[in-house]
Protein backbone atom coordinates (compact mmCIF):
# COMPACT_ATOMS: atom_id res chain seq x y z
CA UNK A 1 0.00 0.00 0.00
CA UNK A 2 2.81 2.38 0.90
CA UNK A 3 4.44 1.67 -2.45
CA UNK A 4 1.18 2.56 -4.19
CA UNK A 5 1.03 5.95 -2.42
CA UNK A 6 4.59 6.64 -3.45
CA UNK A 7 3.80 5.91 -7.09
CA UNK A 8 0.74 8.19 -6.96
CA UNK A 9 2.81 10.96 -5.34
CA UNK A 10 5.48 10.61 -8.01
CA UNK A 11 2.91 10.65 -10.81
CA UNK A 12 1.29 13.80 -9.41
CA UNK A 13 4.72 15.43 -9.11
CA UNK A 14 5.55 14.61 -12.73
CA UNK A 15 2.20 16.03 -13.86
CA UNK A 16 2.85 19.22 -11.90
CA UNK A 17 6.28 19.64 -13.49
CA UNK A 18 4.77 19.20 -16.96
CA UNK A 19 2.05 21.71 -16.10
CA UNK A 20 4.66 24.10 -14.68
CA UNK A 21 6.72 23.85 -17.85
CA UNK A 22 3.74 24.60 -20.11
CA UNK A 23 2.61 27.41 -17.80
CA UNK A 24 6.03 29.04 -17.81
CA UNK A 25 6.09 29.05 -21.62
CA UNK A 26 3.19 31.47 -21.71
CA UNK A 27 3.54 33.38 -18.48
CA UNK A 28 5.87 35.90 -16.89
CA UNK A 29 7.85 33.55 -14.68
CA UNK A 30 11.53 33.40 -13.84
CA UNK A 31 11.79 30.03 -15.55
CA UNK A 32 9.97 31.47 -18.57
CA UNK A 33 12.54 34.24 -18.76
CA UNK A 34 15.31 31.67 -18.84
CA UNK A 35 13.49 29.82 -21.62
CA UNK A 36 13.22 33.10 -23.58
CA UNK A 37 16.98 32.98 -24.00
CA UNK A 38 16.95 29.60 -25.74
CA UNK A 39 13.61 29.17 -27.48
CA UNK A 40 12.92 30.83 -30.87
CA UNK A 41 11.84 34.46 -30.67
CA UNK A 42 8.08 34.92 -30.98
CA UNK A 43 8.06 38.30 -32.73
CA UNK A 44 4.33 38.71 -32.12
CA UNK A 45 5.07 38.90 -28.41
CA UNK A 46 7.65 41.66 -28.78
CA UNK A 47 6.28 45.18 -28.84
CA UNK A 48 7.10 46.92 -32.18
CA UNK A 49 9.11 49.69 -30.59
CA UNK A 50 11.41 47.08 -29.08
CA UNK A 51 12.32 45.57 -32.45
CA UNK A 52 15.21 46.99 -34.45
CA UNK A 53 15.11 45.94 -38.09
CA UNK A 54 18.02 46.00 -40.54
CA UNK A 55 18.37 44.90 -44.13
CA UNK A 56 21.19 44.93 -46.68
CA UNK A 57 21.55 43.62 -50.22
CA UNK A 58 23.72 40.51 -50.61
CA UNK A 59 25.11 38.59 -53.58
CA UNK A 60 26.11 34.92 -53.78
CA UNK A 61 29.74 34.53 -54.80
CA UNK A 62 29.99 30.74 -54.74
CA UNK A 63 28.24 27.62 -53.55
CA UNK A 64 30.66 25.27 -51.81
CA UNK A 65 28.92 22.00 -51.04
CA UNK A 66 25.78 23.67 -49.80
CA UNK A 67 27.49 26.52 -47.98
CA UNK A 68 27.13 29.81 -49.83
CA UNK A 69 29.91 32.38 -49.73
CA UNK A 70 28.13 35.72 -49.93
CA UNK A 71 29.20 39.32 -50.50
CA UNK A 72 27.68 41.50 -47.78
CA UNK A 73 29.22 44.91 -48.36
CA UNK A 74 27.33 46.75 -45.62
CA UNK A 75 27.16 44.01 -42.98
CA UNK A 76 29.27 46.18 -40.70
CA UNK A 77 26.40 48.69 -40.48
CA UNK A 78 24.21 45.94 -39.01
CA UNK A 79 26.88 44.95 -36.50
CA UNK A 80 27.11 48.58 -35.38
CA UNK A 81 23.40 48.89 -34.74
CA UNK A 82 22.83 50.80 -31.49
CA UNK A 83 21.91 48.47 -28.59
CA UNK A 84 22.89 45.33 -30.55
CA UNK A 85 24.62 43.61 -27.65
CA UNK A 86 25.11 40.29 -29.43
CA UNK A 87 26.56 41.61 -32.66
CA UNK A 88 29.69 39.51 -32.29
CA UNK A 89 27.58 36.37 -31.93
CA UNK A 90 25.96 37.19 -35.27
CA UNK A 91 29.32 37.89 -36.91
CA UNK A 92 30.56 34.55 -35.65
CA UNK A 93 27.40 32.71 -36.65
CA UNK A 94 27.64 34.00 -40.21
CA UNK A 95 31.43 33.63 -40.30
CA UNK A 96 31.83 37.29 -41.26
CA UNK A 97 35.14 38.27 -42.86
CA UNK A 98 35.67 42.01 -42.51
CA UNK A 99 38.53 42.05 -45.05
CA UNK A 100 36.53 40.50 -47.88
CA UNK A 101 33.12 41.75 -46.59
CA UNK A 102 31.73 38.24 -46.94
CA UNK A 103 29.51 35.99 -44.87
CA UNK A 104 28.74 32.27 -45.14
CA UNK A 105 25.21 30.89 -44.92
CA UNK A 106 23.76 27.47 -45.64
CA UNK A 107 22.44 27.72 -49.21
CA UNK A 108 19.20 26.09 -48.03
CA UNK A 109 18.36 29.35 -46.26
CA UNK A 110 18.39 31.32 -49.52
CA UNK A 111 15.19 31.90 -51.49
CA UNK A 112 16.47 31.59 -55.06
CA UNK A 113 18.35 29.07 -57.17
CA UNK A 114 21.47 29.44 -54.99
CA UNK A 115 23.74 30.14 -57.96
CA UNK A 116 26.61 32.65 -58.03
CA UNK A 117 25.36 36.10 -58.98
CA UNK A 118 22.02 35.69 -57.24
CA UNK A 119 21.07 38.90 -55.43
CA UNK A 120 19.00 38.68 -52.28
CA UNK A 121 18.41 40.68 -49.14
CA UNK A 122 19.67 39.83 -45.66
CA UNK A 123 17.40 40.92 -42.81
CA UNK A 124 18.42 41.03 -39.17
CA UNK A 125 15.81 41.68 -36.51
CA UNK A 126 17.02 42.53 -33.01
CA UNK A 127 15.18 42.70 -29.70
CA UNK A 128 16.33 45.69 -27.65
CA UNK A 129 18.26 44.83 -24.52
CA UNK A 130 15.90 46.37 -22.00
CA UNK A 131 12.74 44.53 -23.03
CA UNK A 132 10.71 42.11 -20.94
CA UNK A 133 10.68 39.23 -23.41
CA UNK A 134 13.52 37.83 -25.52
CA UNK A 135 15.83 40.61 -24.36
CA UNK A 136 18.88 40.99 -26.61
CA UNK A 137 17.92 38.15 -28.96
CA UNK A 138 18.20 38.40 -32.75
CA UNK A 139 17.14 36.51 -35.87
CA UNK A 140 18.48 36.71 -39.39
CA UNK A 141 16.74 35.59 -42.56
CA UNK A 142 17.14 36.05 -46.29
CA UNK A 143 14.47 37.15 -48.76
CA UNK A 144 14.40 37.98 -52.42
CA UNK A 145 15.79 41.41 -53.21
CA UNK A 146 12.38 42.97 -53.87
CA UNK A 147 11.16 42.53 -50.28
CA UNK A 148 11.39 45.83 -48.40
CA UNK A 149 12.37 46.20 -44.76
CA UNK A 150 8.79 47.15 -43.93
CA UNK A 151 7.30 44.11 -45.66
CA UNK A 152 9.77 41.47 -44.49
CA UNK A 153 8.46 38.79 -42.14
CA UNK A 154 10.81 36.37 -40.39
CA UNK A 155 10.10 32.68 -40.98
CA UNK A 156 8.95 30.54 -38.06
CA UNK A 157 11.94 28.86 -36.44
Amino acid sequence: MKKQYQIIFLAVSICLVIFGFIYSLNSETLFGKLLDQVKPVDWDKVFPRNIIKNSIPIEILENQNGICNIKAENFQLILKTPEFIRSQDLAQELDYNNDTKTIRISCDELPGDELPGEKDKLHVWIVRGETEKFSGRYQYFVTTSNVTIADAVPPQQ
Binding site: Q6, I7, F9, L10, V12, S13, I14, L16, V17, F19, G20, F21, Y23, S24, S27, E28, T29, L30, F31, G32, K33, K45, V46, F47, P48, R49, N50, I51, I52, K53, N54, S55, I56, P57, E73, N74, L77, I78, K80, T81, P82, R128, T131, E132, K133, T148, I149, A150
Partner: protein, 202 residues
Protein backbone atom coordinates in the same frame (compact mmCIF):
# COMPACT_ATOMS: atom_id res chain seq x y z
CA UNK B 1 10.75 7.56 -4.39
CA UNK B 2 9.39 10.24 -2.04
CA UNK B 3 12.62 12.16 -2.42
CA UNK B 4 12.27 12.20 -6.20
CA UNK B 5 8.68 13.38 -5.83
CA UNK B 6 9.69 16.17 -3.45
CA UNK B 7 12.47 17.23 -5.84
CA UNK B 8 9.95 17.40 -8.69
CA UNK B 9 7.62 19.47 -6.50
CA UNK B 10 10.50 21.87 -5.87
CA UNK B 11 11.13 22.13 -9.63
CA UNK B 12 7.42 22.87 -10.13
CA UNK B 13 7.59 25.63 -7.53
CA UNK B 14 10.58 27.23 -9.29
CA UNK B 15 8.78 27.07 -12.63
CA UNK B 16 5.79 29.09 -11.43
CA UNK B 17 7.65 31.80 -9.53
CA UNK B 18 6.51 35.05 -11.18
CA UNK B 19 9.16 37.31 -12.67
CA UNK B 20 9.59 40.80 -11.30
CA UNK B 21 8.52 43.70 -13.44
CA UNK B 22 5.44 44.23 -15.49
CA UNK B 23 4.45 42.47 -18.64
CA UNK B 24 4.72 44.41 -21.88
CA UNK B 25 0.97 44.09 -22.11
CA UNK B 26 0.73 46.63 -19.32
CA UNK B 27 2.84 49.32 -20.94
CA UNK B 28 1.53 52.21 -23.05
CA UNK B 29 1.14 51.24 -26.67
CA UNK B 30 2.19 54.45 -28.38
CA UNK B 31 5.63 54.62 -29.91
CA UNK B 32 7.81 56.44 -32.43
CA UNK B 33 10.08 54.89 -35.02
CA UNK B 34 12.70 56.19 -37.39
CA UNK B 35 13.41 54.53 -40.73
CA UNK B 36 16.56 55.26 -42.71
CA UNK B 37 17.31 53.98 -46.20
CA UNK B 38 20.78 54.53 -47.65
CA UNK B 39 20.90 54.38 -51.45
CA UNK B 40 24.00 54.34 -53.63
CA UNK B 41 24.67 56.77 -56.47
CA UNK B 42 22.66 54.57 -58.85
CA UNK B 43 19.64 54.65 -56.55
CA UNK B 44 20.08 51.07 -55.37
CA UNK B 45 19.24 50.41 -51.74
CA UNK B 46 22.42 49.72 -49.76
CA UNK B 47 21.16 49.61 -46.19
CA UNK B 48 17.85 49.98 -44.38
CA UNK B 49 17.13 50.29 -40.71
CA UNK B 50 14.06 50.77 -38.51
CA UNK B 51 14.67 51.86 -34.92
CA UNK B 52 12.72 53.07 -31.92
CA UNK B 53 12.92 56.73 -30.94
CA UNK B 54 13.22 58.67 -27.72
CA UNK B 55 10.58 61.33 -27.29
CA UNK B 56 12.39 63.96 -25.23
CA UNK B 57 10.81 65.94 -22.39
CA UNK B 58 10.20 68.99 -24.59
CA UNK B 59 8.38 66.73 -27.06
CA UNK B 60 6.17 65.24 -24.37
CA UNK B 61 5.29 68.69 -23.06
CA UNK B 62 4.52 69.83 -26.60
CA UNK B 63 2.01 67.00 -27.13
CA UNK B 64 0.27 67.77 -23.84
CA UNK B 65 0.18 71.52 -24.49
CA UNK B 66 -1.17 71.08 -28.03
CA UNK B 67 -3.85 68.65 -26.94
CA UNK B 68 -5.20 70.13 -23.74
CA UNK B 69 -6.52 73.53 -22.71
CA UNK B 70 -3.73 74.88 -20.57
CA UNK B 71 -3.78 78.62 -21.10
CA UNK B 72 -1.16 78.50 -23.86
CA UNK B 73 -2.17 78.93 -27.50
CA UNK B 74 -1.43 76.00 -29.77
CA UNK B 75 1.11 76.64 -32.52
CA UNK B 76 0.05 77.29 -36.12
CA UNK B 77 -0.09 74.30 -38.43
CA UNK B 78 3.04 75.49 -40.24
CA UNK B 79 4.94 75.29 -36.97
CA UNK B 80 3.77 71.83 -36.01
CA UNK B 81 6.16 68.85 -35.85
CA UNK B 82 7.12 68.12 -39.45
CA UNK B 83 10.91 68.40 -39.81
CA UNK B 84 13.86 66.05 -39.54
CA UNK B 85 17.39 67.21 -38.78
CA UNK B 86 20.46 65.01 -39.12
CA UNK B 87 23.41 65.10 -36.76
CA UNK B 88 27.05 64.10 -36.99
CA UNK B 89 27.59 64.15 -33.24
CA UNK B 90 30.18 61.58 -32.23
CA UNK B 91 28.73 58.88 -29.96
CA UNK B 92 25.27 60.38 -30.38
CA UNK B 93 23.13 59.17 -27.48
CA UNK B 94 19.57 60.45 -27.13
CA UNK B 95 18.64 61.54 -23.64
CA UNK B 96 15.29 62.51 -22.23
CA UNK B 97 16.56 65.92 -21.15
CA UNK B 98 17.93 66.82 -24.60
CA UNK B 99 16.61 70.03 -26.11
CA UNK B 100 16.85 71.65 -29.53
CA UNK B 101 19.84 73.61 -28.21
CA UNK B 102 21.74 70.52 -27.03
CA UNK B 103 20.90 68.67 -30.24
CA UNK B 104 22.16 71.57 -32.37
CA UNK B 105 25.28 71.96 -30.25
CA UNK B 106 26.38 68.42 -31.06
CA UNK B 107 25.45 68.43 -34.72
CA UNK B 108 28.77 69.88 -36.05
CA UNK B 109 27.22 70.60 -39.49
CA UNK B 110 27.63 74.23 -40.51
CA UNK B 111 26.18 74.29 -44.01
CA UNK B 112 22.79 75.42 -42.74
CA UNK B 113 20.85 72.78 -44.65
CA UNK B 114 20.81 69.86 -42.23
CA UNK B 115 17.08 70.15 -41.49
CA UNK B 116 14.35 69.34 -43.99
CA UNK B 117 10.63 69.38 -43.56
CA UNK B 118 7.63 67.50 -44.86
CA UNK B 119 5.00 69.98 -46.07
CA UNK B 120 2.11 67.62 -45.31
CA UNK B 121 2.47 65.00 -42.61
CA UNK B 122 0.64 61.80 -43.55
CA UNK B 123 -1.93 60.78 -40.95
CA UNK B 124 -3.06 57.45 -42.35
CA UNK B 125 -3.83 54.99 -40.99
CA UNK B 126 -5.78 56.75 -38.29
CA UNK B 127 -3.76 57.26 -35.16
CA UNK B 128 -0.40 57.59 -36.86
CA UNK B 129 1.64 60.52 -38.11
CA UNK B 130 4.29 59.90 -40.75
CA UNK B 131 6.91 62.52 -41.60
CA UNK B 132 8.65 61.76 -44.87
CA UNK B 133 10.26 59.99 -46.48
CA UNK B 134 12.59 62.98 -46.66
CA UNK B 135 15.69 62.65 -48.81
CA UNK B 136 19.06 63.94 -47.60
CA UNK B 137 22.08 64.26 -49.87
CA UNK B 138 25.66 65.48 -49.50
CA UNK B 139 24.37 69.03 -50.04
CA UNK B 140 22.71 68.81 -46.63
CA UNK B 141 26.09 68.15 -45.02
CA UNK B 142 29.35 70.08 -45.19
CA UNK B 143 31.13 67.62 -47.50
CA UNK B 144 31.02 64.17 -49.04
CA UNK B 145 32.17 61.32 -46.80
CA UNK B 146 30.67 62.74 -43.62
CA UNK B 147 28.88 60.43 -41.23
CA UNK B 148 25.28 60.79 -40.08
CA UNK B 149 24.99 59.37 -36.56
CA UNK B 150 21.40 60.16 -35.68
CA UNK B 151 18.33 62.25 -36.34
CA UNK B 152 16.22 64.79 -34.51
CA UNK B 153 12.53 65.43 -35.11
CA UNK B 154 11.67 69.11 -34.91
CA UNK B 155 9.09 71.80 -35.61
CA UNK B 156 8.52 73.03 -39.17
CA UNK B 157 8.18 76.51 -40.63
CA UNK B 158 6.01 78.48 -43.02
CA UNK B 159 8.40 77.89 -45.89
CA UNK B 160 9.46 74.47 -47.12
CA UNK B 161 13.12 75.32 -47.58
CA UNK B 162 15.90 73.43 -45.82
CA UNK B 163 17.06 75.13 -42.65
CA UNK B 164 20.02 75.05 -40.35
CA UNK B 165 19.10 74.18 -36.79
CA UNK B 166 16.34 72.43 -34.91
CA UNK B 167 16.03 75.45 -32.62
CA UNK B 168 15.43 77.74 -35.61
CA UNK B 169 11.75 76.73 -35.63
CA UNK B 170 11.21 75.79 -32.03
CA UNK B 171 11.70 72.66 -30.02
CA UNK B 172 13.08 69.15 -30.31
CA UNK B 173 10.36 66.48 -30.29
CA UNK B 174 12.27 63.19 -30.53
CA UNK B 175 15.64 61.70 -31.35
CA UNK B 176 16.72 58.47 -33.04
CA UNK B 177 20.18 56.96 -32.67
CA UNK B 178 20.98 55.19 -35.96
CA UNK B 179 23.88 53.14 -37.22
CA UNK B 180 26.60 55.51 -38.43
CA UNK B 181 25.91 56.07 -42.12
CA UNK B 182 28.54 57.60 -44.42
CA UNK B 183 27.12 59.74 -47.20
CA UNK B 184 29.26 59.94 -50.35
CA UNK B 185 28.73 61.95 -53.53
CA UNK B 186 25.60 60.83 -55.34
CA UNK B 187 24.34 58.79 -52.42
CA UNK B 188 21.17 59.63 -50.51
CA UNK B 189 19.60 58.84 -47.18
CA UNK B 190 15.82 58.70 -46.99
CA UNK B 191 14.45 59.28 -43.52
CA UNK B 192 10.93 58.56 -42.35
CA UNK B 193 9.62 59.21 -38.86
CA UNK B 194 6.46 57.49 -37.66
CA UNK B 195 4.58 58.35 -34.47
CA UNK B 196 1.95 55.76 -33.64
CA UNK B 197 -0.83 56.32 -31.11
CA UNK B 198 -3.05 53.45 -32.17
CA UNK B 199 -4.09 50.91 -29.59
CA UNK B 200 -6.02 47.69 -29.88
CA UNK B 201 -9.77 48.08 -29.88
CA UNK B 202 -9.76 51.82 -30.58
Amino acid sequence: MYKIGIALMAIFAVMVIPAQGSSENGTPTYYGMGTIVLSDSLGNEAFSQILHNRVVNTGESFVIAQTFKNGTSSVADNSAISAVCVTEAAAFTPAEVDTAATFDAGTTITTGNECKEDTVVDETPQGTAVIGPITFAVSNLDAAGEIITGIGVCQGSAGAADFGTCAANGLLFAEVDTSDVTLNTGETVQITYTFDLTSSGT
